[in-house]
């Protein structure tokens, strides 16, 4: 009797891994759903293209033969001092008022935007998750103090901090990154804190504590993995925010300074020429808006894929769900049953 049961278990153990791997990985499920989200996939492709163009910016600069900060006062500027239009004298997208190649400068601006977007998101996420976990896990006075700080940061006028730092230290890339990171961690912290507050009451945390796990182990090994979904969504959505933030600071002259090209300071320059040079305004604006829309769509797509209950933000997505539901069914049905099995503790636990 007991031998047959053991044998039976042995068989289930042997067959289990295939199903378990397929079913347990939330990331596989997420990726599968995301892959069917056409807007999200298109946005990922667009972001990939922008990143490729940004990386290849020096190659393009040497291809057209115009370094990003090189002014061409003779061929790049009209007699009356206005920028030349797209296609003239080998300037694909025209020039700015100093006769610099707008195409090359936009490509170099993409480098700044992506760098600032990604680096501040990384800093903000690490900081935000840490503070949120500590606040939510410890609770009590620590939580009260940290929550106060989070609220204060969220309500702090960014323009005041940016202005003050620009006055004291002079505007620079590092100040931009510092200001954006300072404001991006708080939103993530707030969400992580709320989740951690409820997770720490769960039985498995108590079990971990009874086994002698220290606070850091519980926070980062036991609680954190359960929060990866909201953290990933927030992080993805904070990239476009950071890009807009950088562009705004640079536009105001508090960020990246000329001659280094950033979409914000290009658009700041375009401000004086909007009546005569549409290209000076439209092309960098398009680059900026396309990039932020793409990141926002990916963020929305990731959120929907992580949590199928949320409603589609983009109308086209809902159509896909309706018409594509039969097609998805196969995927969904193959994936979902093992997940429920795994949720209930896996094949081994039913004895």
């Amino acid at each position: 009797m007991s031998i047959t049961e053991l044998e039976f278990q042995a068989v289930t153990v042997e067959t289990a891994p295939e199903e378990a791997i397929q079913g347990q990985s939330q990331w596989q499920l997420t990726w599968r759903r995301l892959r069917h989200d056409r807007m999200a996939v298109a946005s990922i492709v667009v972001i990939g293209l922008i990143a490729a163009l940004a990386i290849a910016a020096p190659a393009f600069a040497s291809l057209v033969g115009h370094p990003p900060s090189q002014a061409y006062p003779n061929i790049g500027v009209n007699v009356n001092g206005t920028p030349v239009s797209p296609g003239t004298h080998g300037f694909w997208l025209g020039t700015d008022e100093l006769g610099r190649d707008l195409f090359v400068r936009i490509l170099y601006g993409a480098r700044i935007s992506l760098f600032v977007g990604l680096s501040t998101t990384l800093i903000g996420t690490v900081l935000g998750v840490s503070v949120g976990l500590i606040s939510g896990y410890y609770g009590g006075i620590v939580d009260a103090a940290l929550a106060r700080i989070i609220d204060a940061v969220l309500a702090f006028p960014y323009i005041v901090l940016a202005l003050s730092l620009a006055v004291v230290f002079g505007p620079s890339l590092w100040i931009v990154i510092g200001v954006i990171a300072f404001f991006s961690w708080a939103a993530i912290s707030r969400v992580v804190r709320g989740q951690a507050l409820s997770i720490r009451e769960k039985e498995y945390i108590e079990a971990a504590r009874s086994l002698g796990a220290g606070p850091w182990r519980i926070m980062f090994i036991d609680v954190l993995p359960n929060l990866m979904a909201p953290i990933l969504v927030l992080a993805t959505l904070s990239i476009p925010t950071a890009i807009v933030f950088e562009a705004t600071l640079s536009y105001l002259g508090l960020g990246i300074q000329a001659p280094t090209a950033s979409w914000g300071n290009i658009l700041g320059g375009a401000q004086s020429y909007y009546t005569v040079a549409w290209w000076y305004l439209v092309f960098p604006a398009l680059a900026l808006v396309i990039t932020t829309i793409a990141f926002n769509l990916v963020g929305d797509g990731v959120r929907d894929a992580m949590d199928p209950r949320t409603e589609r933000v983009f109308a086209a997505g809902r159509k896909r769900r309706k018409t594509g539901s039969q097609g998805d069914q196969a995927d969904g049905e193959a994936a979902l049953p093992p997940l429920t099995v795994a949720d209930e503790g896996g094949p081994l636990s039913w004895q």
């Binding site: 702090f156 323009i159 005041v160 003050s164 476009p240 562009a247 536009y251 105001l252 769509l297």
Partner: protein, 322 residues
């Protein structure tokens, strides 16, 4: 009674916050090497004697806490000192000139922002999945991805210029005082308001739509319908009140963002308000103007937060003012 006590307490803490900000700005900005300040004012060619004279006239040779005390006393008397530039105009005069401009942008923009944001959100939620709802969700996405200054510049190029070429000269830019007629004032403010409102409204459309959709699924809404109330009354009286609470608390968070938006809008349209003057003061290091801006901005945030908390308590009876 509770309200009075709440107000007194909040105003007192607000004053402490402002004192803290004033102290921080003083030690961050003013407690610098007097030589640098004097050099900045007197010019590169100034001799050591002139520099010493300037330092003495400014009181920069006094002990730091004497300077700090004098700074606080002057702030209490609404004296922000003299601008380093603009021919040494007093900063209070600059504020008096700029404040109506900034206030025009803030008030109009805020009203339009809430009306458009909440209006679209409520219409979307009550007509979920309709064409209007889908169009507005796309518009929201674009709005969320569009930086304020880009929208402003595009409006300049593609609305302001064509409108003026085709005779709609009542759309102007810059600032026209209210005393010259409400219409010309609004004509100058229209584009700034639209710019400020559109980007921020997107957040509120999304928020109020989601919040109202959630609320309309609650049991007490079904009860309200069951007792025979009209749909309009159910939505606007029972649904809206609960749905507005997250919107109001978001408003408290967004006051800081609103200030940033105002500065950007002033810069784009050349309104010449406090924000634009503060930004242009960066380039020439005009500290008194910047400090006045920082202090006024902080005061604005403190006051606005008190108002938001009051509104919050009025909307949600479970929140006690105390």
């Amino acid at each position: 009674m509770a309200v009075t006590r709440f107000l007194v307490r909040r105003i007192l803490t607000g004053l402490i916050v402002l004192w803290f900000v004033a102290t921080a700005t003083f030690f961050l900005f003013f407690a610098r090497n007097p030589q640098i300040v004097a050099r900045q004012l007197a010019g590169r060619a100034a001799t050591a004697q002139i520099l010493a004279e300037v330092t003495h006239n400014l009181g920069l040779d006094q002990p730091i806490f004497t300077q700090y005390g004098r700074y606080l006393t002057r702030l209490v008397h609404w004296n922000f000192g003299l601008s380093y530039f603009n021919g040494g105009e007093s900063v209070s005069a600059i504020i008096a000139r700029d404040l109506p401009r900034t206030a025009s942008v803030v008030v109009g923009g805020l009203v339009l922002w809430l009306v458009v944001g909440l209006g679209t959100g409520v219409l979307s939620a009550t007509r979920a999945r309709s064409l209007f709802d889908r169009t507005s969700t796309v518009a929201v996405l674009v709005g969320l991805s569009m930086p304020t200054f880009v929208l402003g510049e595009l409006l300049l190029r593609y609305v302001y210029v064509p409108a003026n070429n085709h005779g709609a000269t009542w759309i102007t830019i810059g600032y026209v005082p209210l005393s010259q007629g409400v219409l010309s004032w609004a004509g100058a403010m229209m584009l700034p308001w639209i710019t400020l409102a559109t980007v921020q409204a997107a957040v509120y459309t999304r928020l109020s739509r989601g919040s109202l959709l959630d609320t309309m699924g609650e049991d007490y809404i079904r009860t309200a319908r069951a007792k025979g109330l009209t749909e309009r009354r159910v939505v606007y009286r029972h649904g809206m009140r609960a749905a507005l609470t997250p919107v109001v608390s978001q408003l408290g968070i967004d006051i800081g963002a609103l200030l940033g938006g105002v500065v950007v809008v002033e810069q784009v349209f050349g309104v010449g308000g406090l924000g634009q003057d503060a930004v242009s003061s960066i380039a020439n290091g005009d500290l008194p103007t910047i400090i006045a801006f920082v202090l006024l901005a902080s005061a604005f945030v403190v006051i606005a937060n008190i108002i938001v908390d009051l509104a919050y308590a009025i909307l949600d009876p479970r929140v006690r003012i105390s």
